[in-house]
C-alpha cells in the first residue's frame, strides 16, 4: 500500500503542494484529477523521489520513502510514465526499453523476458524495434513510455496524463490496455485532464486544487457529485 501523509513540496519560493494526503491499496486504480498547475505532476514526482518533500511523509507498505534515492524507489517497485513525449528520441525503441529496466541491468535474462512481455503487450513496438523513438507517432511513443516503465517490473505504476495529445480513438485503446494492466494486478495511480475517462476506469479519485486536496471519494460517487460534474466533467 502506498500512502501519502500530509505532504508538502515546492520549487524555490513557490509552494506546489500543501498538506496532501492520499492512499492507494494494492491492486487498485486511483486517479488524481485537477486543473493545470494544481500539483498533480509534483505529487507523482514526490513519490518518485525526484522532487524533495518539504513536509509530511510517503509510506510504501509502512516504510517511509523520504530521503531515499530515486533509483532505490524504482527498485522497490514504483515506476513512472512521465508526461508528454518523454522518450529518448535519438535511441532505438529497443534501447529505450532496455534503459527502462536499468535497475535490473545485471540480470540479462530477466531483461529479455520483460522485453518479450512488453512486445507481447504492444506488438506495434516489436515492429518498430530498431526505429528511432523520435520517429514514432504520438500513440506509439505513449506505448513506448508505458513499456519502458514496465521494464523495471513495478508493483505500482504512476502515469502522468497518458491521454495528452492523442486522438479519442487512440485514447480509448490506450485505456483498454491500462485497465487490463490493472486487472492483471498492477496498482496504478493515474493523473488525468480527461476526468470523465479517468473516473470511469478508476475505482477511487482524488481532486487537487491549488496544491491542496479538494475532495476525494469513490469514482462513481465523484462522477455523480454535482460540484465535480460542474468543475471537471463539463456538465
Amino acid at each position: 500500500m502506498l500512502k501519502l501523509d500530509n505532504i508538502s513540496a515546492g520549487y524555490g519560493a513557490v509552494s506546489a503542494l500543501e498538506g496532501v494526503s492520499l492512499e492507494i491499496a494494492d491492486g487498485q486504480m486511483v486517479c488524481l484529477l485537477g486543473a493545470n498547475g494544481a500539483g498533480k505532476s509534483t505529487t507523482l514526482n514526490c513519490i518518485s523521489g525526484v522532487v524533495p518533500l518539504r513536509g509530511g511523509q510517503i509510506l510504501l507498505d509502512g516504510a517511509p520513502l523520504a530521503g531515499i534515492k530515486a533509483e532505490e524507489i524504482v527498485r522497490r517497485g514504483i515506476a513512472q510514465v512521465p508526461e508528454g513525449r518523454e522518450t529518448y528520441p535519438g535511441m532505438s525503441v529497443h534501447d529505450n526499453l532496455v534503459l527502462g529496466g536499468w535497475v535490473h541491468r545485471r540480470k540479462r535474462s530477466l531483461i529479455r523476458d520483460e522485453l518479450d512481455k512488453v512486445y507481447a503487450l504492444f506488438p506495434r513496438l516489436k515492429e518498430r524495434e530498431q526505429q528511432h523513438a523520435g520517429l514514432l507517432s504520438g500513440g506509439e511513443q505513449q506505448m513506448l513510455m508505458i513499456g519502458r516503465a514496465l521494464m523495471s517490473q513495478p508493483r505500482i505504476l504512476l502515469m502522468d496524463e497518458p491521454s495528452l495529445g492523442l486522438s479519442p480513438v487512440l485514447v480509448e485503446r490506450l485505456f483498454e490496455t491500462i485497465v487490463q494492466l490493472n486487472r492483471d494486478g498492477l496498482t496504478i495511480l493515474i493523473v488525468e485532464q480527461n476526468a470523465q475517462l479517468a473516473l470511469r476506469v478508476s475505482q477511487y479519485g482524488y481532486i487537487l486544487e491549488n496544491g491542496e486536496m479538494a475532495t476525494h471519494g469513490n469514482s462513481d460517487t465523484l462522477r455523480r457529485d454535482p460540484k465535480v460534474r460542474e468543475a471537471y466533467l463539463g456538465t
Binding site: 530515486a70 541491468r105 516503465a149
Partner: protein
C-alpha cells in the same frame, strides 16, 4: 547500437596503428609534427565529447586537465626519472582523483552554474601553473628531455608520431567501448532526458560524475602526449584560447559522434597552418576567423559537418 563493437569500430584502431607505423616513411618532419598536434587534438576532442556530446553537460575545465596531464607527466619524468608510460598512468589517476573531487563539489550545481564552476577551476589551474614556479617553472615554462619509453628513448619525430598514433588507437577503442557500455547508455539517457533517466532508476549524479572523470582523464592523456613530441611547455598552452578552439572543433565537426569529432578536430586543427601560409600580415585576425567559423557553423549547420553529411546521405537514401 549497444552491446558489442561493430566491425568498423574494431578495424579503425587497427588501421590507425598501421597507418601510424607506416606514415613516417613518407612524411617530412614538419608534417609529422603537425600530425602529432592533430592527434592530440583528436584525443582532447574525443574526451570533451564524452561530457558534452554524450552526457550533454557543459564543461570548460577540459583544458585544465590537459595542463595537469602535461605537467604531471613532465615533472614525473624530468624530476623523478619516471618513464613516460608509467608517468602517464600516474598522471591519469591523479587527474581522475582531482576530477572526482571537482565533480563531487559541483554535483549540486546545475545548468549555467556548473559551467561557471568549471570555468573557475580552469582559471585556478592556469593561475597555479603560472605562479607555482618551483614546480612548473612558472611563465618561463619547462624544458623537456626526449621521452623515456622504458625500452627505448623517443628522440625522432618519426618515433614520437608512432607512439602518439598507438595512444590514439587505444583511446579511440576505449571511446567505442565506453559508448557501447552500460555507462555509455546511462550517459545518453541523461543527455536526452534527465527526468526520465532518474524516474527509470538511473543515478543521474553518479553518471554525470563518471562522465566528467573519464572526460578529464582523456584530457590528461592529451597533455601527456604533448610532452612526448614537444621540447618545451608553458602555461600559454593551457589558456582560454585553446579551450575555445576545442569547443569549436566539437561544434564544427558535430557533437556526439566519433566521426564528427574527428572531422572537427582535423579541420580546425589544420586551419591555423593554412591561415599562417595564406593570411600573411592579416594573421592577427586569426582569432576573429575562429569566432566567425563558430558563429557560422552554429547558425548554418547546428549538427556540424558530420550532421550535414548524414542528413544528405539519409535524404538521398529515402529519395531512392
Amino acid at each position: 547500437m549497444y552491446g558489442t563493437l561493430s566491425k568498423s569500430e574494431t578495424l579503425w584502431p587497427v588501421f590507425i596503428v598501421i597507418a601510424g607505423l607506416l606514415l613516417p616513411f613518407f612524411a617530412n618532419n614538419y608534417q609529422l609534427y603537425l600530425g602529432c598536434v592533430l592527434i592530440v587534438y583528436v584525443v582532447l576532442a574525443l574526451g570533451l565529447d564524452i561530457i558534452m556530446g554524450r552526457a550533454g553537460q557543459f564543461a570548460f575545465s577540459h583544458i585544465a586537465f590537459y595542463g595537469i596531464g602535461a605537467y604531471a607527466t613532465a615533472i614525473l619524468q624530468q624530476r623523478f626519472g619516471v618513464p613516460f608510460p608509467i608517468g602517464l598512468v600516474i598522471a591519469v589517476l591523479l587527474s581522475a582523483g582531482i576530477a572526482w573531487l571537482v565533480a563531487m563539489a559541483s554535483v549540486r550545481l546545475r545548468h549555467i552554474y556548473l559551467g561557471l564552476a568549471t570555468v573557475a577551476f580552469a582559471s585556478a589551474a592556469q593561475w597555479l601553473a603560472q605562479t607555482w614556479k618551483g614546480v612548473t617553472g612558472g611563465v618561463d615554462g619547462m624544458r623537456l628531455q626526449p621521452s623515456d619509453m622504458i625500452f627505448f628513448t623517443s628522440r625522432t619525430d618519426a618515433s614520437n608520431f608512432r607512439i602518439l598514433a598507438v595512444i590514439l588507437a587505444i583511446m579511440l577503442l576505449l571511446n567505442f567501448l565506453l559508448i557501447r557500455s552500460r555507462l555509455g547508455r546511462a550517459m545518453a539517457a541523461i543527455r536526452d532526458s534527465e527526468h526520465v533517466a532518474s524516474v527509470s532508476g538511473i543515478d543521474v549524479r553518479r553518471t554525470k560524475a563518471w562522465a566528467f572523470v573519464i572526460s578529464s582523464a582523456y584530457a590528461c592523456v592529451g597533455g601527456g602526449m604533448l610532452v612526448v613530441f614537444n621540447s618545451f611547455i608553458d602555461p600559454m598552452n593551457f589558456t582560454f584560447a585553446p579551450a575555445v578552439l576545442l569547443l569549436t572543433m566539437l561544434v564544427v565537426g558535430g557533437m556526439g559522434s566519433v566521426a564528427g569529432v574527428v572531422i572537427g578536430s582535423l579541420t580546425m586543427g589544420i586551419l591555423p597552418e593554412i591561415l599562417r601560409s595564406t593570411m600573411g600580415d592579416f594573421i592577427v585576425w586569426q582569432e576573429f576567423v575562429y569566432g566567425l567559423i563558430l558563429v557560422l557553423s552554429i547558425t548554418l549547420m547546428p549538427q556540424g559537418i558530420w550532421g550535414l553529411v548524414r542528413n544528405r546521405t539519409e535524404s538521398k537514401r529515402s529519395a531512392t
